[in-house]
């Protein structure tokens, strides 16, 4: 009896200890980890109870069936990701094994021209960073202001209309946005700034439209974060004579900072990976430039163009796009890691 008791306590402690770690995980993974520990704990507790018959564990068919299905789903999604990473890795490795290319050249060379065996990714990377940066310049302030308006100012009825409309905006196919960039935003920029400054294909137009495209994402995720702030904090701020604006900006926003930051980073990852808009509007040739008004091809735009053509599977061109995809993967991965690190830091600070 005593032994059983002891085990249960052990299980209980394990469960307790796993909780803080949970807090810092992204929801999906957190729920997986949660199931994991819960199962671990209950098994431990159950094995301790073997002594008496009436406490014996029953076999429940439904429970174990659902359990296995859930585990299978989790494992499947993990395996898929793993598979993609492995393929990317192998093909990239093959690419770097070719004598003409070295990793050093890939990272430092400023020319990307597969035809003459120049594989420097910098022009593509810089264009990706450029469009993403411009997109964030548009999406951050607008998305955040929309979120603050919806969570702090709008009446429930206004919000009830606004949020679905915003989410509708997110449902528009990106090819439409690409066309919008090419036939509306670019002419607009050319009218405002002059045709001699703004080329037909340019990263500014693509960046701005990507920004518009991710506003709903930023707004919706930030609004969720803002609304999750306990109403007690708002009451406290109003109770001290804070105005609505002071309360929203100085109290609610800092309290929601981890969630808002996460929204930003997800948005950056989305901007980095956005393909259709840049393929249509940013230009079809690698170009290392700091000028947003001339054409430049991004990593995604290049991959889309190259893989659309007829490449033979063993060609160096073909393998080069895997190396580029690997770079994209590393970028989004580091963004994710960064966002988690941020969230953990804010949590520690504020809880």
């Amino acid at each position: 009896m005593q032994r059983c008791h002891g085990r249960e306590i052990v299980a209980g402690i394990m469960f307790e200890q796993s909780k803080p770690a949970l807090g810092s995980e992204i929801v999906a993974e957190a729920s997986m980890a949660y199931t994991g520990t819960a199962i671990g704990a209950s098994e431990l507790a159950a094995t301790g109870g073997d002594g008496s018959d009436d406490l014996k564990r029953h076999f429940r068919l439904g429970e174990s069936l659902i359990h296995s299905v859930l585990v299978a789903c989790g494992v499947l999604s993990m395996l898929t990701t793993l598979g993609i990473v492995i393929v990317l890795g192998i093909e990239s490795w093959r690419f770097f094994r070719v004598p003409e290319v070295t990793l050093w050249e890939f990272v430092t060379n400023t020319v990307w021209q597969p035809r003459i065996n120049e594989f420097g990714m910098l022009p593509l990377l810089s264009a990706t960073l450029m469009t993403s940066f411009i997109a964030m310049l548009v999406a951050l302030p607008l998305g955040l202001m929309a979120a603050i308006y919806m969570s702090e100012y709008a009446t429930p009825r206004t919000r009830g209309v606004l949020k679905p409309v915003l989410e509708l905006l997110a449902g528009i196919p990106t090819v439409v946005y690409g066309y919008f960039a090419l036939t509306f935003m670019t002419p607009l920029l050319r009218t405002i700034l002059g045709k001699d400054i703004v080329e037909i294909y340019n990263t500014a137009s693509a960046g701005i439209v990507i920004g518009i495209l991710i506003i709903p994402l930023v707004a919706s995720m930030s609004e969720d974060a803002l609304r999750a702030v306990p109403s007690g904090l708002r009451e406290a701020a109003y109770g001290l004579g804070g105005t609505k604006f002071e309360t929203a900006i100085q109290v609610v926003l800092p309290a929601a900072l981890s969630g808002v930051t996460a929204a930003f980073i997800v948005a950056v990852a989305r901007a980095v990976g956005e393909t259709m808009v840049v393929a249509l509007a940013a230009g079809a040739g690698p170009n290392l430039t700091a000028n947003p008004f001339v054409g430049a091809e991004t990593i995604t735009g290049h991959i889309a163009r190259i893989s659309g053509g007829d490449l033979s599977y063993d060609s160096i061109d073909y393998q080069s796009i895997f190396a580029l995809a690997f770079v994209l993967f590393l970028m989004t991965l580091s963004l994710n890691i960064f966002s988690r690190w941020l969230m953990r830091r804010f949590r520690q600070e504020y809880q």
Partner: protein, 291 residues
């Protein structure tokens, strides 16, 4: 100043009688038993509060004495919080809430259309049931209210003074830059009180400020209230009869009628209300024979 004097004379007629002369409150909710003619801190007149169609409290007449502790007691759901929040227009934040009647503060009805709720709350501060520090440092928690109130003087001095008044200074003086969440529950509540004091309000409203605290922290807050009442008017909602009896000078007892509408049953000096209540219902409630 002129307004205050006028108000004082205005109220003197209704409160000329001394406590000894007071007889039963009659059919209406009992008016305050005033023992002197000075100006009131705040006064509710014929206050009715609704949440949508629900009549939450009715016909509240409450005269709150300055620099005294007034306790609001009564069973759960009788509208204590609703009444308390009406005194600094916190009910404005509830979309469905509607307040009728008058709340006179310095001779002005705070519900008059030209009155700014934000200005009201700068003069009538509030401490809530659950400690709710901002996600900021201890220092910034205290400084925030003063900052948004346009305080331009010696902020360090103000923060220290507020923390000293809230009996928290010695515990936090070496970690002012740390998060407010790094404190214990009782310390957090004292931080919230310090935050409320820092804006130098005339009245502090406290809604069950000790309900999340252990007995020792509770006593610390009670001691604190007794010190604060030398400078401020305090109104406190509490479920704890002993607490009301220990700290308050005046007590208002609320109950609900069959339609669940809250009303003021009896209001008077705490001693009298606890030792010699005029209403049978009050006696039943404070002696625990409520049913």
């Amino acid at each position: 100043m002129a307004i205050q004097t006028k108000m004082a004379t205005g109220t003197s007629s209704s409160s000329a009688s001394t406590l000894a002369d007071m007889t039963s409150g009659g059919g209406m909710a009992a008016p305050a038993a005033r023992t002197h003619d000075g100006p009131l801190a705040i006064e509710a007149r014929n206050m009715n509060i609704y949440y949508g169609n629900f009549h939450a409290v009715r016909d509240i007449n409450l005269q709150v004495e300055p620099r005294k502790i007034t306790a609001l007691i009564g069973p759960s759901g009788c509208g204590k919080s609703t009444v308390l929040r009406a005194f600094n227009r916190m009910n404005d934040l509830v979309a469905s809430a509607r307040v009728e009647g008058e709340v006179l503060f310095n001779g002005r009805n705070i519900y008059a259309p030209e009155v700014d709720a934000v200005e009201v709350r700068r003069r009538i501060g509030m401490v809530f049931q659950k400690p709710n520090p901002f996600p900021k440092s201890i220092y910034d928690n205290v400084a925030w209210g003063a900052k948004v109130n346009g305080f331009k003087g010696d902020m360090d001095g103000l923060v220290e003074q507020a923390l000293r008044n809230a009996a928290l200074w010695d515990e936090v003086k070496d970690k002012l830059k740390q998060s407010g969440y790094s404190l214990s529950g009782g310390q957090q509540q004292r931080l919230c009180i310090a935050r409320a004091i820092a804006i130098k309000p005339e009245i502090i409203l406290m809604d069950e400020p000790c309900s999340a605290l252990d007995p020792i922290a509770t006593l610390a807050i009670e001691d604190l209230m007794k010190e604060l009442v030398e400078k401020y008017t305090i109104m406190i909602v509490t479920h704890n009869m002993q607490q009301a009896a220990r700290v308050s000078d005046y007590t208002a007892f609320f109950m609900v009628d069959p339609k669940r509408t809250g009303h003021l049953v009896e209001y008077g000096p705490t001693r009298q209300l606890f030792t010699n209540p005029k209403e049978k219902r009050t006696e039943d409630y404070i002696t625990g024979r409520f049913g």
